[in-house]
């Protein structure tokens, strides 16, 4: 229930009581000076009705005043109120039992109650929450309430005096501390409220303005959650600033990537004139955004002819410490902006900056999320390009492993059987990382599967692959690869190495590990037919127990905490420890040692190996 409604309730009760009391008076007047009106019993009846009306009105008012006083309660206020209420009840009991009346107790109690009532009457905080219109209504209601109170008290007093003079046994209500205290308290609080509201009237507009500022401030802060674009934040900033300081016009100029001017009741030309005028007079510090100080530039506008504005106030808007624009407010009055206005608009500008910053951060986060999702897809695609099952043969066994870093890499290996005694292998590494690397890797897979089918010599394979890749690889990109053809009938291997890491070979006869030394330029480096001069086919025989270790540079270039590389020597050492085991065990051993060496699970390049053991 609003404060005005509460006052209405009091007023209505007062009105009813007064009307009934007046009707009784009217009946008495109509009857005139008859025996009935002079009868003490009749007079007493009228008196009792009036007394009842008064007490109900008082109690009604008392309960409403209680609500108003306790509107913003503190612990102390509640205690005082409890004492006051309990005291009043006790005094009611005291009078009801017809205990002998002692003057000094009566006086003291009454004084205490009046003092308590006065203290409590100081609680008028609710008045501040009334707006201008409500204040006027309240004033009227209170004035009438006071009038009713006075009238009823007067009526009761006059009747009781008449009866007292006629009958000796009459007990005047005025010996009741309860009623007296109520009358005093209710009247005093009514008068206080009336006066406070009256004197608050002139400052109401200020209070309302402050409230509006708070609401505006909230609007700017919340705009980030509700608004869909930076533009609406700018619009709200301009709107609220203009309305808060009662500016006649204003504009918000946004610089940066998307320059924009939001104008309020001012044409672009006028705004430009003012900017040019200030620039021409070398007024630095506000519109040129050279400093973060906000200045009142009123005096500089005085010299601008043809403009109706005499005051200007300008603020920079900052996002992440960078100036993104200027907010300018104009007034036709000279010296139209006060210090408070400067402060509040500066707060608005700051808050708008924060909102924009949040907005941009959110956009960025979304964008990042999208990139991550794309990268995830690329990684899945890349994984799916690697073979699920490797070729098997009674002559050899193959095991392969590939683990890519967070970024998508471009390592590729594959096997393909041409006929019952010919199997092709490939291992390749695409330069660069990310989606393009995965893309080139898929091209390499296509090339491998189409060219290897044709049963061509390895150098021919590389030449054709190079020719195909020239048109796909961008400047500076290349693919290193080694292509093998295993002939199980002749127990021979032919291979061509195009810039890929040299093959590590274990010869079971000599019990030695060595890197093959041969020549070959990576694919995509020579972009014409002369590539055939840079690639060669090599051939060797394999024997039972021989091992061929293929890998990518991610393994040899893996680094430990001291920035030392895993290197070729360490690779050969690690393999030499497990030459008699199965390819899978060799591979597991190598990977375990590699992780031990780097000391972290977070690899920064792709680790790929393919180990072939011959039987």
């Amino acid at each position: 229930m609003s404060f005005v409604d509460l006052l209405w309730k009091v007023f209505a009760t007062g009105l009813v009581a007064t009307v009934i009391s007046l009707m009784l008076r009217l009946i008495e007047n109509l009857l005139g000076s008859t025996a009935l009106t002079r009868n003490v019993v009749y007079q007493d009846l009228v008196y009792l009705i009036n007394l009842g009306l008064m007490v109900s009105f008082l109690i009604m008012t008392f309960t409403v005043w209680k609500r108003l006083i306790l509107y913003q309660k503190s612990k102390w206020l509640l205690r005082i109120w409890a004492v006051f209420e309990a005291g009043l009840l006790l005094s009611l009991a005291y009078n009801s039992f017809k205990l002998p009346l002692i003057d000094w107790i009566f006086g003291t109690l009454l004084t205490i109650f009046i003092i308590l009532g006065l203290i409590l009457s100081g609680n008028l905080k609710w008045v501040a929450y009334l707006n201008f219109r409500q204040k006027w209504t309240s004033l009227l209601l209170l004035l009438l309430t006071i009038f009713y109170l006075l009238y009823i008290v007067y009526t009761n007093s006059s009747i009781s005096e008449v009866i007292a003079s006629a009958s000796k046994n009459f007990t005047d209500y005025r010996i009741h501390i309860f009623i007296l205290s109520l009358i005093v308290f209710v009247t005093v609080y009514s008068i206080f409220s009336f006066l406070v509201i009256l004197f608050n009237l002139p400052t109401t507009s200020v209070f309302e303005q402050k409230l509006e500022e708070v609401v505006n401030f909230q609007r700017i802060s919340q705009s980030i959650q509700t608004e869909q674009s930076e533009e609406s934040v700018y619009n709200i900033l301009l709107e609220t600033s203009v309305s808060t300081v009662f500016a006649d016009a204003g504009w918000l100029e946004i610089t940066g990537d998307k320059p924009n001017v939001f104008a309020y009741r001012i044409s672009d030309k006028e705004a430009h004139d003012i900017v040019n005028h200030l620039n021409a007079h070398h007024v630095r510090g506000v519109l040129d955004q050279g400093t973060d100080k906000t200045k009142n530039l009123s005096k500089h506008l005085a010299s601008l002819k043809g403009s109706r504005y005499r005051s200007i106030l300008a603020f920079p808007v900052y996002v992440k410490g960078a100036n993104i624009g200027t907010l300018a407010l104009l007034k036709e009055l000279p010296d139209g902006f006060t210090k408070e206005m400067t402060k509040i608009v500066s707060t608005f500008a700051n808050q708008a900056g924060i909102s924009i910053e949040n907005f941009r951060l959110m956009e960025e986060a979304l964008q990042n999320e999208r990139y991550k999702e794309e990268l995830k897809i690329a990684k899945t695609v890349q994984k799916s390009l690697l073979p699920q099952v490797l070729e098997k043969d009674s002559d050899f066994e193959i095991s392969a492993f590939s683990e890519s870093a967070d970024e998508v890499g471009g390592d590729y290996y594959d096997t393909l059987r041409i006929n019952d005694h010919l199997v092709c292998l490939i291992i390749a590494d695409v330069s660069g990382k990310g989606t393009t690397a995965a893309f080139h890797m898929s091209q390499m897979k296509g090339i491998f599967h189409s060219l290897a089918q044709r049963d061509i010599q390895p150098d021919e394979f590389m030449m054709q692959a190079n020719q195909a890749l020239i048109y796909c690889l961008e400047r500076g990109s290349f693919i290193s690869a080694t292509f093998f053809m295993i002939n199980t009938k002749e127990r021979k291997i032919k291979y061509a190495r195009a810039g890929h890491c040299p093959v590590l070979y274990y010869c079971s006869n000599k019990k030695s590990l060595e890197y093959f030394k041969d020549k070959g330029v990576a694919l995509g480096m020579v972009r014409n037919k002369s590539y055939q001069n840079f690639i060669q086919t090599n051939e060797f025989d394999y024997k039972n127990g021989d091992v061929m270790v293929l890998y990518t540079d991610g393994i040899t270039e893996a680094k430990d905490a001291r920035n030392e590389e895993f290197g070729y020597e360490r690779l050969s050492e690690v393999i030499s420890e497990v030459t008699q085991t199965t390819p899978k065990e060799m591979q597991d051993h190598l990977i375990r040692r590699l992780y031990e060496f780097s000391g972290t699970e977070n690899i920064n390049d792709d680790y790929t190996t393919m180990i072939v053991k011959f039987k």
């Binding site: 500076g476 290349f478 330029v521 480096m525 540079d553």
Partner: protein, 114 residues
């Protein structure tokens, strides 16, 4: 991290590459060589004696200038590589495509056609 310095001597543009060339720093190397080529130098010597590591992206930069140097008759020679860096070049076969000298003296002789 990388630091690239340029120095002109007897009509030869010396480019000193110090540190490691990875994917991000290779852009800087690319820009430097492009600038040198753009300024019209026909003799470019690249000092790799302080080059500690080069990634495939960095190798790609050198590779991408091979054709251009041939077309515009620019002599580009790399010199002073450590064994490790030289190995990286030779695995990819770039040693066959690029002109690589042992030291500055040899490099100068190569560009001067001696």
């Amino acid at each position: 991290m990388i630091s690239i310095k340029r120095l002109q001597e007897d009509g030869i543009d010396f480019i000193m590459v110090i540190g490691e060339i990875d994917a991000s720093s290779s852009i800087e190397l690319d820009l430097t060589i492009a600038k040198s080529v753009g300024e019209g130098y026909s003799k470019i010597l690249i000092d790799c004696s302080a080059l500690e590591y080069i990634s495939s992206a960095g190798l790609g930069v050198f590779m991408s200038y091979i054709e251009e140097c041939k077309d515009r008759n620019i002599q580009m020679v790399l010199f002073g590589m450590s064994d490790k860096v030289a190995n990286t070049f030779s695995i990819l076969g770039l040693n066959e495509l690029l002109r690589i000298a042992k030291d500055k003296v040899q490099a100068k002789q190569m560009v001067n056609g001696l």
